[in-house]
């Protein structure tokens, strides 16, 4: 039985305690907590002996609330670092309630990756879903509220799939241990739940829908945890499931293609999360030790450089209030440090030698090439080309230069106000940039954290030359297709159309018109209004939202799906139990 002292070893504890305290203490103390808690978590991780486990018993179930093996520790380290950087970035902008949600989210993600059994894993998984929803709702605007509710329903659906899979697995094997799964019915349900959180196509649309609508710091937190916790779960339970290889390759290409189309800079980067997670999912599909190391290393590096990219675009949004490429441009002279720091992230994600993404992505791609040859590698390289094209060239050009060139210098008139960003944002971006460079220059630091000894020495003349040529010719391609690549003020439909517009289309209603209206039976109208009132009360209570509540129609189809699936699983559980 675990003792209280054993449980205090858990690095999620300081984050969870700080989350609770942030809810009650004054704002200035919450600023200290949001930085101090991740530091304490990092110290705990440093003190945690690899291989440590904390067993516990709940009723008749044998649990393992803490399992600090190589795979879990690699993710735990980067989760704590991400909490520190994201918390620092939000020091000047986040409210205490937002810090509370963010720290709870980080604590739950830490709980997910350090869980040794499926029950602890499920509980942490669900807390993570709720905390991340609250983080999105903290933007306190109508569109963020609606996106948050859609996000919640998608993740509740995933949570139900996970619970059903866990219970079915328990019923068939009698074990709650979280180990590698065979291809069975319960494993497929758990795989689907993980696929939703990993944003595997076509279950990904919640990500570009919700992430860009959070606050500037909220988006940085969001980019670190949900998809990477799912990558961890896939690596733990589904390594070598070949379907993941194909799903991953498709994700890489789908994400970059949509990113090229996007106008909103934070939505563009959200599609790049889908693309980069695709590299990890594909490597997990290969399942060799080198591939799992590659997926883990890429998750580690991705949290650093994607956080940096979203900090850079967040700083632009904070300074100008604008996030569409077509409404930006000419920021270079006024935001030089932000541009330089953003470019460190952009070159990392593009896997330029000496940057973190180079060592991680190449390891994953090389592992795939050993098992599946050049065809898969060519597709992944094309995805890399798209990554540099949009994050390294198109986005920074449109944002910092564009039609306005380098823009006005300080003290000169500008077409729109460019306000100063706080030092804490520079500190967070600087920290992330330094870590990206350190890992790129000293890859051994990252290799030492990986779960297996198998590594790929990426710094060879051939590999470096090939990568430099690839990126150089991508830049030439950008020059060649410059006019075609110019951003357009358009919105791109995605698979969330199925639950955002299809219900209205089905009923012949106008966009935005609620599904329930004239001619609807009174019992349904009354029930709907009751639900709306209840949701309004909860939202006002939890996030203090001033905006109108999300309309019931926005989540109607998802709500029906969630309730329906819940009922089916309840009946199945009752049947299985009897």
């Amino acid at each position: 039985v675990a003792t209280v002292v054993d449980l205090l070893l858990h690095p999620a504890v300081p984050l969870a305690v700080a989350a609770v305290l942030c809810f009650v203490v004054p704002s200035r103390i919450s600023r200290v907590l949001v930085v101090a808690a991740p530091v304490v978590a990092l110290v705990q991780l440093a003190l945690l002996e690899p291989g440590t486990t904390v067993p516990a018993t709940f009723h008749t179930f044998d649990l393992e609330v803490l399992r600090a093996d190589g795979l879990a520790l690699a993710f735990a380290w980067i989760f704590a670092i991400a909490a520190l950087l994201s918390g620092t970035f939000g020091l000047a902008t986040q409210s205490p309630r937002e810090r509370c949600a963010a720290l709870a989210y980080a604590a739950a993600a830490m709980g997910v990756v350090l869980a040794g059994d499926l029950m602890t894993f499920f509980i942490a998984w669900e807390i993570k879903a709720i905390a991340s929803t609250l983080l999105i709702l903290q933007r306190r605007t109508g569109d963020a509220g609606r996106a948050g509710m859609r996000y919640l329903f998608v993740h509740v659906l995933g949570g139900k799939l996970l619970l059903a899979g866990v219970l079915w697995h328990l019923a068939t094997t009698g074990s709650l241990a979280f180990e590698a799964f065979e291809v069975t019915g319960p494993a497929i349900l758990i795989l689907l739940a993980c696929a939703i959180n990993a944003a595997v196509i076509p279950l990904h649309a919640w990500l570009p829908d919700a992430y860009p609508r959070a606050t500037v710091a909220g988006t940085v937190f969001l980019s670190a945890y949900t998809t990477k916790a799912a990558v961890y779960a896939l690596a733990r339970g589904f390594a070598g499931f070949e379907v993941l290889l194909y799903a991953g390759i498709f994700m890489t290409l789908f994400g970059v293609t949509y990113a090229i189309l996007e106008d909103d800079i934070r939505r563009l980067l959200s599609y790049h999360i889908v693309s980069q997670v695709g590299f990890m999912v594909a490597a997990i599909g290969v399942g060799t030790e080198l591939a799992i190391n590659g997926a883990t290393a890429h998750a580690f590096a991705h949290i650093l450089y994607k956080g940096l990219l979203l900090m850079g675009t967040g700083a632009v949004l904070h300074a100008t209030g604008r996030s569409r490429s077509t409404q930006l441009g000419g920021l270079y002279h006024r935001m030089k440090p932000t541009f330089v720091l953003y470019m460190v992230g952009a070159l990392s994600i593009s896997s330029l030698p000496l940057f973190s993404g180079f060592i991680s992505k190449e390891m994953a791609v090389q592992a795939i090439s050993y098992e599946y040859g050049y065809a898969a590698v060519v597709l992944l390289k094309v995805a890399s080309v798209g990554t540099f094209l949009s994050t390294g060239l198109k986005l920074p050009h449109a944002t910092f230069f564009g039609d306005l060139g380098a823009g006005p210098r300080a003290g000169e008139p500008a077409p729109f106000p460019i306000r100063r960003i706080p030092m804490s944002m520079y500190a967070a971006m600087g920290g992330a940039a330094v870590l990206n460079l350190v890992l790129g220059v000293r890859p051994q630091l990252l290799y030492d954290l990986l779960p297996f000894d198998e590594i790929y020495g990426v710094y060879t003349l051939g590999k470096v030359t090939e990568t430099l040529l690839l990126l150089g010719f991508t830049a030439l391609a950008f020059w060649l297709y410059f006019d075609v690549l110019a951003p357009k003020a358009k919105f791109s439909l995605d698979t969330d159309w199925v639950y955002r517009r299809f219900p209205q289309a089905l009923r012949g209603r106008a966009p935005g018109e609620p599904l329930v209206g004239e001619g609807t039976p009174r019992v349904i109208t009354d029930a709907t209004q009751g639900l709306v009132r209840a949701r309004t009360a909860v939202l006002e209570r939890v996030v203090g939202a001033q905006a109108p509540p999300p309309p019931i129609a926005a989540t109607w189809l998802l709500g029906v799906a969630v309730v329906g699936v819940g009922l089916i699983f309840l009946l199945l559980s009752l049947g299985g139990g009897s």
Binding site: L261, T320, T460, L476
Partner: protein, 105 residues
């Protein structure tokens, strides 16, 4: 296609083939150049020509969820930029249109 870039691209391809022949790492000479140019071109065509026909809509396609042009709720607080003498610069309005309009497409 930007025609001014073509001579430079041609020269760069020749140089890359020579580099590949000297180093002998790539499976075929010009491999990286082909991936960069053809891959970039394919993605540009897919992302900017083919895909928009299927998925591009007006920004207010979901009218309730369209973000405002200036998202004041996340905008840094504080005074608008001023010149060296402390006078507000003439860019003081938040919704001032960009010169040349918003859509560059």
């Amino acid at each position: 296609v930007n025609v001014r870039a073509l001579p430079w691209v041609g020269a760069a391809v020749v140089v890359s083939v020579v580099i590949d022949l000297v180093i002998g790492y790539s499976p075929v000479p010009g491999y990286a150049a082909a991936l960069g140019l053809v891959g970039g071109g394919a993605l540009t065509v897919a992302g900017k020509v083919l895909l928009p026909k299927l998925v591009s809509r007006a920004p207010d396609y979901y009218p309730l969820d369209e973000a405002p042009a200036v998202q004041t709720d996340v905008l840094a607080t504080g005074p608008d930029p001023r010149d060296a003498d402390g006078r507000p610069l003439p860019d003081g309005t938040l919704d001032a249109p960009r010169p040349g309009g918003g859509d560059r497409g």
